[in-house]
Structures are given as C-alpha cells and as structure tokens.
Symmetry: D2
Subunit: 363 residues, 4 copies
C-alpha cells in the first residue's frame, strides 16, 4: 500500500530488480496530452547504467513499452502502464547476498520487516526501482511543460567535498549534459570525475549533493498545512535510495543568517509581484510564489563497495561481505534525472490538486 505517490497525478511503481519486469502505472494524467514512448525512453537513457566510464558497466537496455492509457498518440485520462523487461540479470553475481547482510543496505531491514526478501540484486530496494519513477517523471515533465511552460533542470552540485558554483536561474540541460558527471561547472566537473575514478580504483564509493530548479511554476501550488509544497518535495527526495537530506532555498545555511538579511523583499515587477532575493526557494507558507523553486538532496556514498566489511548473516553469525558485481562508485550523475522526476511528479500532482480545489468559482 506504499508504492504509490501523489494524490491526483498518482504513480505506482512495481517490480523487483531481478524479477521479470519493472515499471510504473501513472493514474490521473490529464487526457489529450501528446505522449510518445520516445518521451519516456529519452529520460530512461539518462538514468540507465553503463552510460559512461564512471558509472556501473552493467548493460541494461531498459527499453520502455507503453501498455495502456495512450491512444493514437494522446493520453486517454486512464492509467498509463510503462513496463521495462529485466534482462542481463547475472544472478550468479548475487549468490553471496543470499544469506549475508550487506552493511548499510536494506537486506537486514527487509528480512526484519517481511521475513522474506528477493536477495537477487536488492529486489525493491535496488536502484532499478527508480526506472518507474523516471518513466513517470518524463510524463509529468511533458504535462508541466505543455500546461505551464515549466522547465526542470537538475545537476550535480557536490561530489565528496568538491563543490560547484551553478546559477539555478540560468543553467540549462545542455550545460548539465555537457559532461559525464552532470555538473555544469566545467572545471569542478573535471575534478569530480578524477575523484570518482580514484574511488573506483580504491573499491570505495562517494556521495554528494544534487540541486534541482523548476522555473515558470505558477504561484499557488502547495496545500497547507501538511501537504505544503516543500513537504511533498522533501518526502519525494527522501524516498529515493541513498538520500539522507533535503533542503529548499537557503536550507541549512539559512539558519546562520538573521531575519533582516534572510527575508525576501517583495517588489512590483511590471505588474507581477516578485521577490528581490530568493532565500525562500520559490515557496512561502507551503505555496509556490512564482519564483524559481530550488531544492537539494544529499546522497550518501554508495553502500556497495569492493572492500571487505564486517557483517552478520541471517542467523546472526559474524561474516565478511565483499561486494562483487558491477556497481557505481558514485550515484550522483545518475541521480540527476531521478531528482528531476521526483520534482516533476510533485509539481504535476500539486498543479492538479490546486486546479481541483480552486478552479471552480461562483462569484
């Protein structure tokens, strides 16, 4: 009952990493939106492994099929099922995971909760689960662009201790895609790539921060008091594998400012009410104010490393775990399209909710 996100633009993901297929159902996408499988494939290609020398070398074709909800190139307003067949699942790579718990993975907690787990590749806890998110996110992006001209751009802001300078108001997806680490600050990107290669050589892994901006979001989105826009954005990011933190606008850094410097003054910009600064990150009182929405997610270093680690097996015996198989030393570049997708899904959902709650007037 927990594999569903959103109230009106509602997605449900399904599939284990080493089951037959994996995918998503999107229920509530408005009717008559032009949609082609290529819209989805394009985003899946940004997410999939094996894209570059710094990501895992697993070859996952990840070809999307739309099995329902689209007719003659348009959405029907009915559930859209997107499915990807699982292939290239070398299950022999996972035999060592059958009984032994990988540190900082979900192996132990799944056993503790369900009393059973698909030990081949992590099951639902695998990063492959995000295929459904990205497929659904591609549809949400298309809807937001068609309805409001919304643009969503994510990028790697930090790897390990290496920080980039990026202007969220002007960065483009082309800037982001110009290098394999998806960091639009070119010099810093180079350092990041070198550091990731080094971590791979060490059999170690790195974390970092993804920042994401949404531009042209209309004012009014967000439903106080519990479904504030930032609350649903936070939830959506923290539901991603490996995410340990979230910020909107000034975030943790803003706590060191005083109110007189942190408050965003309003002014009238040719008839449109705007703010001179954007420490609020485009959201005030849980509702979008028309400024760019800027969020960040913190991703821990990948749990799977190729070094020996202390652990236990499912009978409590002390054991040693050493990762095998093909893994990402740093998930950040591949996390970018996922963060974008989560943001798109939350915004699409809130756009429909806002329309429902306030679109009928009677004056």
């Amino acid at each position: 009952m927990s594999n569903t996100l959103g109230e009106m633009f509602r997605i449900s993901t399904w599939g284990e990493s080493h089951g037959d297929a994996i995918g998503v159902t999107v229920d509530g996408c408005p009717p008559r939106l032009p949609l082609d499988v290529a819209d989805i494939q394009k985003e899946l290609d940004r997410r999939r492994p094996g894209q570059s020398e710094i990501s895992t070398q697993r070859k996952e074709g990840d070809q999307a099929e739309i099995l329902s909800g689209v007719f003659e190139g348009l959405t029907l307003g009915t559930p859209i099922l997107v499915s990807v067949w699982n292939r290239d699942a070398r299950s022999r790579d996972y035999e060592h995971m059958r009984t032994t718990y990988r540190p900082s993975h979900a192996d132990y907690t799944y056993d503790a909760k369900y009393g059973i787990r698909n030990w081949m590749g992590g099951g639902r806890a695998s990063a492959r689960e995000t295929i459904g998110r990205v497929a659904a996110g591609a549809i949400a992006k298309k809807f937001l662009a068609a309805a409001f001209g919304v643009e969503i751009v994510g990028y790697v802001k930090q790897v390990w201790t290496i920080n980039a300078q990026v202007d969220p108001d002007t960065v483009t997806q082309a800037d982001v895609e110009s290098n394999i680490v998806r960091c639009p600050d070119e010099d810093v990107a180079f350092q990041m790539i070198e550091r990731i290669k080094e971590a791979r050589k060490d059999g170690d892994s790195l974390g970092g921060v993804v920042e994401c901006v949404a531009r042209n979001v209309p004012p009014g989105l967000g439903e106080p008091v519990f479904d504030k826009l930032e609350a649903d954005l936070a939830k959506s990011l923290l539901s991603m594998p490996a995410c340990k933190g979230f910020e909107v606008g000034s975030g943790f850094a803003g706590t060191t400012m005083t109110g007189s410097t942190h408050n965003d003054p309003f002014y009238n910009d040719g008839g449109r009410i705007r703010t001179r600064t954007n420490y609020s990150g485009g959201i005030q009182g849980g509702i979008s104010n028309g400024e760019n929405i800027v969020i960040r997610g913190a991703f821990k270093p990948t749990a799977t490393i190729l070094q020996a680690q202390e652990t236990v097996d499912n009978e409590g015996n002390t054991a040693v775990m050493k990762g095998r198989g093909r893994h990402d030393p740093c998930v950040l570049p591949r996390a970018v399209p996922i963060v974008e997708s989560m943001m798109a899904l939350v915004l699409a959902d809130h756009a429909l909710r806002h329309q429902g709650q306030t679109g009928i007037t009677f004056e």
Copy 2:
C-alpha cells in the same frame, strides 16, 4: 483536503490563529489507551508562548479540552477531538497586515492561491496551527511509550552559528528542560540565550537546528518505496512553519565521507543484530533497524522582525512593513516539542501500518 497527516494514526488540524478555536482530531488511535487531558496539557505548555524571557510575551493560556473519543479514562478507538479556545487575540496588532504583505510570510501566497485570507495573525499559516500537532503528538507519544517503550527527545542543536555537542544516545528530557533555550549543552545554551537577547534588542531574528532522537523503536517500521520512514519524517518536518531542511543520520555531512567509512558494520550483540556505527540514523532502506533514529530540522530566522522592510500591498503598490506585536526572536526552543510531536506521529502511524501489513500470518 490537505490538513490531514498519516494513514492509520491520522491527525487533522483545524483553526485559524484568530478564529474562535484551534485544535486537532486524531482518528485511528488504538482503543483502551489510558489518556488524560493532562497528558496533552503538559506538552502544550512546552509549546505555548510566554514561557520565558526569550520567547514572545503573548499570554496564550492554551487550555486543552478533549471533546470526544475518550471514555472513563481510556481511548475508544473513535476520533479524539482536542480543542483550544483562542483568547488574548489583540487583533488591533494586526491591522497593518490587512492589505500589506509581510516579506517571507505566507500572506502573498495565500492570496495568490485562495483569493482570500484571514489577515489577523496569519490564519492557518500562524505558528498557532501547531497547537493541534502538539496535542496529537502527546497522544502518539503516550501510545508509543505504552506499546514499545519508545522515548523521543528533541533539543536545540544550533542557534545562528552557535553549535552544541549532544549525545543522542544518552540525552534526557530533563537535560533539555534544564534551561530556557532547550539546549542540553549548558555552556552553549548560555551563549545561545545571550545571542537571542541581542537579536531581540536589534528587532531582528535568528534561526537554527533542532535535533530529535527516538530510542527503542522496533525494527521493521517504514513502508518502501514511497512511504519510507525517513520520507515521512522529512515530510512531517518540512510541513512545519519555517522549516527549510531535513537530515537523517549523517545527513549532508555524510556526503563528504567515503563508503568504507560511512557504512555501518553489523554485529551480533547477544542475539540482537546491531550496527557498530549509526550513520544510517536508525533507518536502512526506508525501514527502522532498531538503532536510535536521529533526525534534524533546519529552521530559518523568524520572518517577523521589528525593522522596516520593503514590500508591496495587495494592489501591487510599494509599501514598508514593520512588524509590531509580540513575536519570538527565535522559534527554536518552542520548536522542540513540535519536532518531537511530528516524529511521534510518524512513528505511531508506521507502527500501525506495519502491524496491519505483517501482523496476520498463515504458516
């Protein structure tokens, strides 16, 4: 439709800051839990204004009444309505807010969304809305303690740039309540208090960080993939007024570590599977692992300050806003019981969900 939080332990808050009353309905609290209005009042007293020289001097008695759901000292399993009458609402203090938008407040966005707002004191965007959260949180705490022995302790970890050292494994509520800033690191608490007094003198405001720990949480709570425990915790904190960031376990700092140092090794502690470190913050794969759950929320400096600020009115005319009335220069001490409440509500909800999903077996 958005004033409800939780699936099974479900709360709905209602009330404007300057309406007749304000409160909460708790639907789904298990039956036969001993509950007295004093359990709730005790927590409301920690939240209410006017407690000390560093918080607002408004006198809000905030007396709770339980109007339903409790019979002969026990919960009935039916909705529990807790109501607090609003008094001491000096609405003349708010006349200047009728048409002018306070910077970094919700005045403009509420108007943009609803086309109307209760301009007296912020309506639903006021911190008074959290009365319902704290009342419900008191019930959730009582349930968690009775069912599992869960202890939840929150405290001020940072004010402005002043940081405290606190051990989440050992800190007690008595430590926290030993000073008015609710920071259990005594020397640092003294500095925080001085800094807050200074900000008050300046008519300015400060932000900071609240940290909160839950101990004795059973393994298994959390519902992947979207209702992961950390995802719902993040949402609950970001739904609080002024919250701009969230962390669990190592949070943003963890992004600068490598996997080999960040991973938490498992070991067998006399039959109980435990981890040697707790960078995971008690949650792995979205599910509690039995270690202490540690979260942090970043709170921006209070938007209401007593300095003149540039803004516009609801017709777009340039205006100057200068806060009047009685306001907190720093919300952090009063945020502590609210953060605890949000954590308790999420844990109670997940305890019931987990019980429902896995409590029936057939082997």
Copy 3:
C-alpha cells in the same frame, strides 16, 4: 482512520452521542463561498429529534457553531469546524445498556472490535453521529447550488409496505416539507403517518425507502473505474445507520427488463445530448450524463423497540432487553436530510475531482 469521507471535498465527523460535543470538519471546500451558520442550522433542524409527533420526543437543540474556516462571511479554503454541544443526555436512560447487548445494534460488534465502547446512547453508532454529516452536507449543497445550480430533493418513498408515487423530475422541497413524514404524495403520507402511530403504540418500529434526486448536475462527474459516481453514492448511503440497500436508476426492478426496453435512447435536444428515458438514473459508465440522478436507500426497521427481546450480556449470559427512553418508531422522515447530505457530499467531491483532473488543458 475511517471517519473521513471524500478525496477533495473531505469531511471528518467526530463525537459520541453522549460525549461533550459532536460535529464535523470539512476540509477542501473551495474558498470565497458565502457561508453562514444559518445555512447549517436550517438543515440540522430538519434532522433533529422532537420535530413532530411521529419522531422521538427527545429535545436536542442541536445548535451549530462554526469555529474555523469562515472569515467575514466567506469560506477561507481552510478546514471548517462545525460543533454542536451535546445536551439533554439523560444517561440514566441508558444504564441497562452498560452490559447487555441490544439485538441488531452495534453494541456487540463494537465490543468485539475495540474491546471497549461508550455504552451511553450508542457512542459513534448512534444516529447523533449524522449531525456532522448534515452540517457538512449543508455546506456541500450551498457549494453545488452556487457553482452549478444543482438542486437536491429527497423524500420518503416507502414506509413498511406503503408506497408513494413521486415524480423525481418535478418534486420540490416544499412538497416534501408539507407533511411530517416527508412524503410528497399526500394521501400516501397520511397512511404512513397512521401506520407509524400504530407502530409506536405497539412499541414496535418500521423501515422504508428514501428516494433522492439531484438535478442540474453537469455531465462528466465520476471517476472510473473504482470511484464511479454510483459507487461512491452507494458507499455514502450504506455508511448511514440502518441502511441495508441502495439503488440507482432502475435498480433491482431494472433486472426484470430486457435490454431493448431498458436502454436509454440518445437524442439531440436543441444542441444538448439527452436521453429519452432515464433508467440509467443519470449515470452511465460511472459518469454523470446530465440527466437527473436518482438514488434510493433501504432502511431497516429501527432496532430499538419497546418490547422484550432475547439477548446476551457481555459475559455471554442470556438476558432480556427491553428498550427504554425516547426513540423513533420510524427513522425515515429524519433520514431524508441525511440522504440529501450524503448525495451532496459525493457530488461536491466529484465536482472538485473532475475539475482537478480535466480542468487544465494544453492544446
């Protein structure tokens, strides 16, 4: 977690019959709807006991108060809390219910489920719980009338074996309110009243059928495949105390027709697509088609009777139950405003959902 109805126009009722207060929260009512407590009181007065010689003689003033969500005569888009204080609760009348289960009441099942119950007057299973429904229904009616000109008229169609002839296309509320049994077929109404008086004399009770029509409902409301309009209407009626059956359009009688006579032919009525007959009851494929929506609810004879009945107590001992106190020999007249309310609540909810799902276009 189950005292909430609706997705977007969402109501939550609370309160035991003999607790301090009883009421409802309405979350999701669109902003800027004119609303006065008199709009609500008017409907509560139609529901309350003691209205006439054929209903219970309990005097329940049932004065509504709006404690939140309305400001200067308009809804704010925030939760509307309506509360009614419980008075005139002669709890001595209920002492015999403390341990003995009333046949066909909820006493036993509440004990079986919750292990506790408020035995004074039925708690949540009392008909008093419907106060919240009627208060919320009054708001939904006002919204539907303001937004679409929707008219909802309910009436008693049958008492015991006595059937009325009523034309749902033309009946008015004035017709309904012209007699105390709320049956607009005057001769039949007279017979019904006599039969109810006879049942009262016998210490017995009667059941019957309420029919309800909604006119001017726009086409398009209803969300297949599970939230079809008739599905949500059925649920809303079956959630009422004593309801044992539901029909839309031709209902059970339609099962004896053939398709060639039951199908409703379409025709063009001056540009508007209409049907020549309305066996569909205004709903096709789960979606309103613009014709009048006609539903019926079957209500069993009131379980409380003043005759001795075989039963058991909460320890399983054989016992005799004889109802005391003041009870309705026939709930049908008072059920009319409740059925209208349920219909209004479902239609209001679906109006908002439809607006949300289809109100944004991009062509």
Copy 4:
C-alpha cells in the same frame, strides 16, 4: 487517481480492452503467502468469455503472468503485477462505434468527461477491465482462506424474472459450477438457460441478481463510520460494470418487516455469541459479527443488443446503432467470479486494517 481500491490490500487496475495488455497491481498483500499463477488462472477461466453456449463466443485466452512480487513461490510483501496480453481483438467489429454513441453505454459520458476515448471495444468501460479485479480477487481469496479459513461462494440468484432458492449457509462452489448459468437451484437454472437462449435469438439481453456469501469471517471487520463493511462492499459492487443495486442481509425486503421480527436475537452458542436469525447479513453497526455475510448485486440487462436503436453521434446528429460483434446476452454467469472477487478484496482490506488498528495492545 481512481483506478485504485482498498487502503491496505490495495489493487490498481490498468488497461484498455483493445490496448496491448490489461491487468492489475496488488500492493499490500502480506508477505510469505504461497501464490502460484495457477491460483489466478483458475479464476480468470471462470470469468473469461466463450466458456459456454450462453456466453459470448469471443475467444479470449486471458493467460495471466505474474511479473513481480512473488519469489520462490511466496509473496514478498511488494507489489504483485499480474498482466494479461490482449489478443483476438477484431477491431473491425468496432468501427461503427468510432463516432456513434451506443445507448446506455459509457461512450458519451467518456467523451463528455475526457474529450477522448478509446472507441475500440469500450476501453476502460469494457467488461475486460474486470480481468484485473478477478486476478486480484484470486489473491485476496487465497489470503483470506489461509489466514481465517474464509470461504466465498457466489451464484446467480435471479435472471430476468426467474428466481432461485438457495441457502447461503450451505451452498458450495461445486453446486454453483454444476451448470453453465452458475445457479445452484437446478430446475431454475434450466429455465434461466432457456430464457437466455431466447434472448440471444431475439438479439436482446437480460439482467439479474448475483448473491454472494462469505463464511468464517471473524467478528470485528469494518471501520465505522464511513468505511463500514457494508459501505465498502456496496461501493465495490457498484463499481462493477452494469451494477445498479446492492443489498446486504434483508436488503429492500427488510423494509417491509417490523423491528420486532427483523431484529436478530443474540444467544450463547457454546461460548460463541451468535444470532438466531441473520437479517443483519453478518454485519451490525458496520462491523462483522461472525455470522455469514450475505450480499446481492443487481445487474441491468447488457446494454449491447443486436437490435436497431435510436441514438446520436459525437456531433449530435441522429443515428441508428445496431450492435455487432460477439456479446453476452446475459452477463450474470460471468459476473459471479467478479462479485466474489470484489467481496474478497473488501474483506482482505478490512482484515489488514482491523489488524493494524487493534493488533497492538498495551495493557
């Protein structure tokens, strides 16, 4: 957002009748339930067309595949995706439906709501949508049997004006499956079959009533006040295509009784509290009381008939519709496994909810 049913045992159906595939996701099925695709196939075979001379002659193999959620023969507690490929879709049979509205079908209302529809075979409004329901229902049945020994038996109670006598306390599935009309009253079954053949010859169609009983349901299931067990059962049946009415226990007939005859006396049956009669239909106050739960659904005569009918096209022009293709003159026999499925799904959901709400105690 409306293709989902259930809170904890939650199903989401997807797929158009003439899209690529059709199916269901089951989210929330407890872990470690033995489940094989044959469990599902067995029920789909009871639902599928072409089973007998009185149902449609379309050959739909309807082979189920489980694509996720099951591992080594056991459920994982993760979403179970069941998919059926659509074959034998002779779309030329549907060309006449492209622009012309079939009377009493959903063609017009889908256009009115969505502005688009898959005109090939009815899209989501097709009876093929129920494949997902039956597949999910098979899983729910397996769960209920394993957890509580619940037995669910449905049967045709009425076709047109022909009524059967069936004892819900003793009827078996073998009785039901002993003839092609699925009516366990053999003589009446014969009459029904003859009448259906006659209707087919006439190019006409018939409706009727399905009755369904659940035995061994534990007391305590059902969540007042809105998610009463009968309310969710009513919703689930009215969400089925062609359903126009619902009854539980005495239903509409009970309205003609008096309270003194309708009330079900309690007695102590060797330590178990039981009722002497069962007019309540196994549910009191919205909660199961341990007696057999008996419900009925009214199904209108199939809208598709092979006679010429008056209608309009999507531009409002008068038109004549004459059904072509292969259709059921009477859906009742195939509705039986669907009604059983809906009942199983509601009971499974309520079993989990009840467990969640009351399964943790603290005394």
